[in-house]
Symmetry: D2
Subunit: 251 residues, 4 copies
């Protein structure tokens, strides 16, 4: 069973613990793998408590680094299964990494530059405090949703409890092309909004608010969306940014 | 006669050409020196046309570099006067720099790192086009003034024709301390606003909008001011940011 | 048929064109794949002329970048075979990369930082001239061999025509541990020499001389080896470094 | 009384304490100023113990940073004299710096980038240990002198006790131009040796060995000098580098 903790393309966060419970209720022996690419270090996550067997993460989102590091957390069960599995594997073979890491080495050329970067980004996260990091992402997500509501636009995530803290996907009003709108924002304001993927292409755009990000960067981001809506001729209610500022600027 | 082209502490731009005319009308033989620290590469300037004898500039504002470079433009008259002047000088002695520069050297340790940086920042300015650079600064200054007017606050620069394109000084309502407000903005939003200097200390704050700066960075900046006014309990009209966005987001 | 152009672990360069001829003589339909990890941009290479189907390279050797980029050159034959091949593949599936590259995109998160770096390293290689780059590597390899001969040590590569231009593997005298020697050099001189891999572990050490490297860096490197031999008590003839300098310092 | 602790142009270190004693013996009331530009953090120095009134240092030598920081240590006597002195001063006026530093500020734009760099370089110096840093510079200077002696060339500093630990000035044999030799080394090996200044121009060259520097960098440097002497046709004894390696490579 493989799921995504935070769905980058839709802005929806999965209830990982509930999926684990469903696997258990069915007494299914499958391994449980979770992709935390766009949630690691932005949204709280519990590999052990949630009974995940394989968690994959990366360097280029919440860890605030360039792409290049893939991080795996592996349960005892997964390690044990891997030893007896007979499917051919190389890229997914953990053994060479585990055995060489123990003595301070890598089985092949290590991205030393990114490991130094990781040391620094972990230091930054600890300085802010993980609890504060997660709270910051949640605040920015709520402020973004307040802005979206203020504009009279629709969130892509229908269930409020499952809205992502690291990005917000916004549906375009029918008859308006999200990609044309994104192009306007890119050209006028040098800001690259995420696009709709697959069957929602052109139907939604995505606002990222994760990693090395603060209130005024979000305010700038939402200002770009608000101005872009006007320039692109998308029908919206002015002042969504004011709703976000009201929320962010509480005493 | 020494004046400042763009007064960093008050947000006022001097009419350099008019000062030159006044000197000429008085047939005064003085040298005319202009400080362009906070205007060079942000507000158009004409050393030769305006008859300036010594123009001083720096690396850390419009040229978008760390501090460390001082730049001098010198008229033939100033060079000639310097040769016969008998006041002791070392720091202000241009001759060693001029003679060694001719053969590709510096009279002492050159800040090579900043010279490489200068090469790059000049390239960036040329890519954007100096005309566009100046227009961008003027737009950001106008958007800032629209926001200030929207908040019902008073600009420090009384004469609209002399308002600076690189920073805007805003007067605090009587009875409110600009430095207490600045402290709120720094602590809550990690944004450092300029303070009032000398006799206007505590009575005004300054918003910088120069150098490597774009519309959304300005929108973030003005959002921080708007939220800070609310948090600090300064009386203001909400929505100044909307006036700025209206101006910046014109089709 | 998969071979390595430049064998990093032994310091031997393969005669790729001859391998191709052997495949052709046998009229074998196999694809021909060559690994240029430690030769690309250091030793001349001809993907098309040599009839290679798949060439793999990387960013972290001759291209002077951090690790993170894998580069593939693919023949028309290989592309065609890949289309009809029915083995499951994802990591080795070229199609998503080829189709998105055409329109200026990546099928997943691109290492933008390394692409900027690649732009710069290609510029540097062109400024020096590829012919000069290859000649420089050949000179440094020859100087290193002169030093090894001067020390009375044995090259690992028996055939002079196949000696690598990017690294030189040196055999330790019997009874002496190459890894103990390498440890001395690392601790005393902060220089990390390559180790012997697999069945030559402890029996040879490797001197890298590729990428962003010049005569005096090589002289420093060889000086570290010469001093390390003495400190580690390895029997050697003093003055190998003099042989290298004689070669490098020719008028 | 103003002296230079380490004379960059001659490679001679002054006996600062002895100069202080001479001033005291003469009961002269003068302030004692010492320039430590090329010695600070490379050669041990005692502002207080040696009774210096004003010590000036910089960022770009032993502190391993770009140029841009000037550092002053000031005695109580100097501070007191400055308060009553009536000579006009601005650049040398310490008061604005002292009073603003107390409250965490600078009287003008601070080179924040260099202050971050200074924090890091001080950390590096403490990690190595100042005693070890000074010993390393002394070792490199001695190795360099061994090489110079090996080449049969003459040191510029006649008194062995006053030889600088941060650079070594070498006299050219009569009839040979030091600058022609330096040009050869620069063009062939991309290494810039210091030139003779003033009346020794063309008569000596200088080898720097300070700051972020280690044994193999020195070996590369001396190799460049040895090869350059041969290419430039300067009469010398081969193998000076071997004398340096013998000294550096002691067990």
């Amino acid at each position: 069973m493989a799921i995504v903790h935070n769905e980058t393309s839709t802005g929806v966060t999965c209830r990982v613990a509930d999926v684990r419970k469903a696997i258990d209720r069915a007494s299914h022996p499958c391994l449980f793998m979770v992709d935390t690419i766009s949630s690691l270090a932005s949204i709280d996550y519990f590999h052990d408590e949630w009974g995940v067997d394989v968690t994959v993460g990366c360097s280029q989102k919440g860890l605030m680094l360039p792409p290049g590091l893939g991080l795996n957390a592996i349960s005892a069960k997964a390690l044990s299964v891997a030893k007896t599995a007979r499917m051919p594997k190389s890229y997914w073979d953990w053994e060479p990494m585990l055995s060489t890491n123990k003595v301070g080495f890598f089985p092949y050329t290590p991205p030393t530059n990114l490991l130094y970067g990781l040391k620094e980004s972990l230091k930054m996260l600890r300085e802010e405090g993980l609890k504060n990091v997660f709270a910051r992402h949640a605040r920015h997500a709520e402020a973004t949703r307040q802005a979206v509501q203020g504009w009279g636009l629709e969130l892509n995530c229908a269930n409020p409890e499952e809205c992502s803290s690291s990005l917000t996907a916004v549906r375009m009003p029918p008859g308006h092309d999200a990609d044309a709108f994104r192009k306007v924002v890119l050209e006028r304001f040098n800001m690259s909004l995420g696009n709709g993927l697959g069957k929602v292409q052109g139907k939604l755009f995505r606002i990222g608010h994760l990693g090395d990000f603060n209130d005024l960067m979000l305010a700038g981001t939402l200002s770009g969306v608000e101005m872009g809506l006007g320039i692109a001729g998308v029908p919206y209610t002015k002042g969504g940014i004011m709703a976000a500022l009201k929320y962010l600027g509480q005493k």
